[in-house]
Amino acid sequence: MRTTMKIRKYGIAFLLSLLATNLSAQVSFERILNAEDEPENWLTYNGGYKSQRYSKLDQITPENVGDLKLQWTLQNQVFGAWQSNPIVADGIMYITERPNSVMAVDAITGRVFWKYRHVPAENALVCCGANNRGVAILDDKVFMGTLDARLVALDRITGSPVWDVEVGDVNQAYSVTMAPLVVKDKVIVGVGGGEFGIRGYVAAYDVDTGEEAWKTYTIPGPGEPNHDSWEGDDWEHGGAPVWITGSFDPELNLTYWGVGNPGPDWNAGQRPGDNLYSDSVIALDADSGELKWYFQFTPNDAYDYDSVQVPVLADIVWRGTPSKVMMWANRNGYFYVLDRVTGMFLEGKPYVTVNWSSGLDENGRPIPTPQDEGMPTFPGNQGGTNWYPPSFSPRTGLFYFSAWQDYATIYRAEESEYEPGRAFLGGGFSVLAPVPGAPTIGIGRTNPINNWTNEVGFASLKAMDPQTGEEVWSYDQFDVSDSGMLTTASDLLFTGGREGYFHAVDARSGDLLWNVNLGGQIVMAPVTYSVDGVQYVSVISGHALSTFALPN
């Protein structure tokens, strides 16, 4: 600290200029639309509407990444996996904390300007932790979904709530854990509750008032197309939640959403039919919510293969033809390339061992090969991958994601009866272990000792070529990984894993360039931004958000 500075307390009032009310730069829809052209900011959950998690920043390079230095750390005040993704706008970071707090943080120092706390209703119910994955911003507002299925709009400068509306009935175990998606004048969210017999939907709300603009169910009701993919009243509690942020194509005016598992989870025989639109990607008109097309990855799913992955969009020359594609590494073990104009299947191949299906037909429909009772199914219940955000680099043309290799599950189906607000699972499962009674992979890591070892499954960071559907390289880790991806214009790939290592990998070769042990599981993707010409990379490990940059 400089000793020439004077800190004094004055007995006089400073006149605040009352006429000066110029707001700082607003984050307009146009800015979000062109987010990739202002890489100094990270304006949406996935870094732009295409959800590529690719940044044009290139100050940090393969040559100097080894010089990265910790700039600041923000400690979480609550325990539990911190799956939140920061948004950065004009030097201010917006980050959520369990269960439903939002902080505005100075992106250079990590110090907090304000904190808003929403206390969810006591009976809020989520299957897998009090997670919140972040906020969306537009103009002077910040939007957050809550565990008790509300949507809250806050003033971006003061953190004061502007409106707070119900998205779903908390008594029926509806919840919102995803970061909302803002499109034009609407803020769009989906609901969780797939383990509790909800009927899923995506709904849009007016950004100024919170008034509901449209609501599209992920399970068609009587009289709607594809209602006959369900029998009897199964559709009423058939799950199909939407708990990961979607993507948006402004030219097509379509939003894309991954839809979760049908319910009850593990007893497919209790709900005959394809169970549309569970385990599908749906394309909804951004203004009306009208369903334009769907593609189902796993019909009549018996394995909890939620398709809640991020729809990654790219405009590429695909096998000689300029194409608007969507790339998707699915929880069911297949990597897909789809035409996002029509939903047509272009390519699909397994990226890990798959035995629940022997392959895909020409329309991308899996050929089912259910295993005998007591026999392992590959991939296991957490899937070949899950909700962890992937990345696509337009420079390398490759798609990057965290896969779980050699991981299998033995399923047990049971008849379940729906009761409001109670688990509706249809049986259970156990993870295949090499030795009877050995510890197996859980939903997160709470033990610093990896007592399940790689024999139960391990992480493989994969680079996929959408032209072939094949893996180009992989980078394996001893433990599994729930970490997402970030790529940059200097061909760096940043990611992490449950072991707590934060990795920088060469995006072309897969070679490890640098890593640091941050000591806590990394269960979200890193982000990058810049302020005053300095590029920063932020990642959450355990209960700490750490931000790195090059020295001066």
Binding site: A13, F14, T21, S24, R111, T158
Partner: protein, 263 residues
């Protein structure tokens, strides 16, 4: 290593703290403000409450669902005359009976409630929230700096929720003697940077090396102290004690107490 600056700051705050203590004592003793209730009334109310009201409302005033008398949370009543109406007329379709109290008893119960259930507290008169809103936005000049439910500037703290987090007595003190009520974190600051930029604003957060403020342009700014040539903290709020009448103050308090978050 401690720098001389830190010492200066610490001495200043100690001096300030002493001044606060003296003022706080005075506030109780000489009944700051011109509310209509006396300390005797509050004491009387405490006794009457225990005899007549505590059976249903509980010793803390929070046993009836949706009501917390000690923090001024009622179902419908807002003004003192509303409360008198409820007590003397009954409420909730007979579930609360009508009470036939002497004037000094009635006066005492209202005083006790308004004192936040503190038998030694200061009771505050609460007026009409509708008139109070007009004063807040007009003569009182509160809306020149404060924001309520998405309307107004952000330079002073947002008051949308103030009725739920402040007692009537605290609100009254803010109006009548803002210098003793201003929370330290909210103190106005004036910073001059090495680039000769002068920044005036309200402090939001501070540590040894940095300070976070909202400036007069409503921008969130984080400054490194090493980048500053001067950093001044004022113990004077930008607002002087109000010159509203006691009736008007009561009305503004009535309005502020009605602000319990967004609708």
């Amino acid at each position: 290593m401690k720098t001389p600056i830190v010492k200066i700051g610490r001495l200043a705050s100690l001096a300030l703290w002493g001044a606060f203590s003296i003022l706080a004592q005075q506030a109780v003793g000489q009944e700051v403000g011109d509310h209509q209730y006396t300390s005797e009334a509050v004491e009387t109310g405490s006794r009457v409450y225990t005899q007549q009201c505590a059976l249903c409302h509980g010793p803390q005033g929070d046993l009836v669902d949706g009501i917390d008398l000690s923090i001024g949370q009622f179902r419908k009543a807002q003004s003192d005359s509303d409360l008198v109406g409820v007590i003397s007329g009954g409420a909730a379709e007979g579930r609360m009976p009508a009470f036939n109290l002497r004037a000094d008893e009635m006066n005492g119960i209202i005083a006790f409630i308004r004192a936040g259930f503190d038998p030694e507290g200061v009771a505050v008169r609460i007026g009409d929230p509708v008139r109070g809103k007009a004063l807040f936005e007009g003569k009182g000049e509160c809306a020149d700096c404060h924001r309520v439910r998405g309307v107004g500037p952000r330079t002073a703290p947002d008051l949308s929720n103030i009725g739920a987090i402040r007692t009537p007595a605290s609100l009254q003190r803010n109006l009548l003697d803002p210098a003793t009520a201003l929370l330290p974190i909210n103190r106005p600051v004036r910073l001059v940077t090495r680039n000769e930029e002068t920044i005036v604003g309200r402090r939001l957060n501070e540590d040894t090396y940095t300070v976070q403020i909202i400036d007069s342009q409503e921008r969130l700014r984080s400054l490194k102290k090493s980048d500053l040539v001067s950093y001044e903290i004022s113990d004077q709020p930008s607002k002087q004690p109000t010159d509203m009448t006691s009736d008007e103050v009561a009305d503004v308090i009535g309005y502020l107490l009605s602000l319990r978050g967004i609708e």
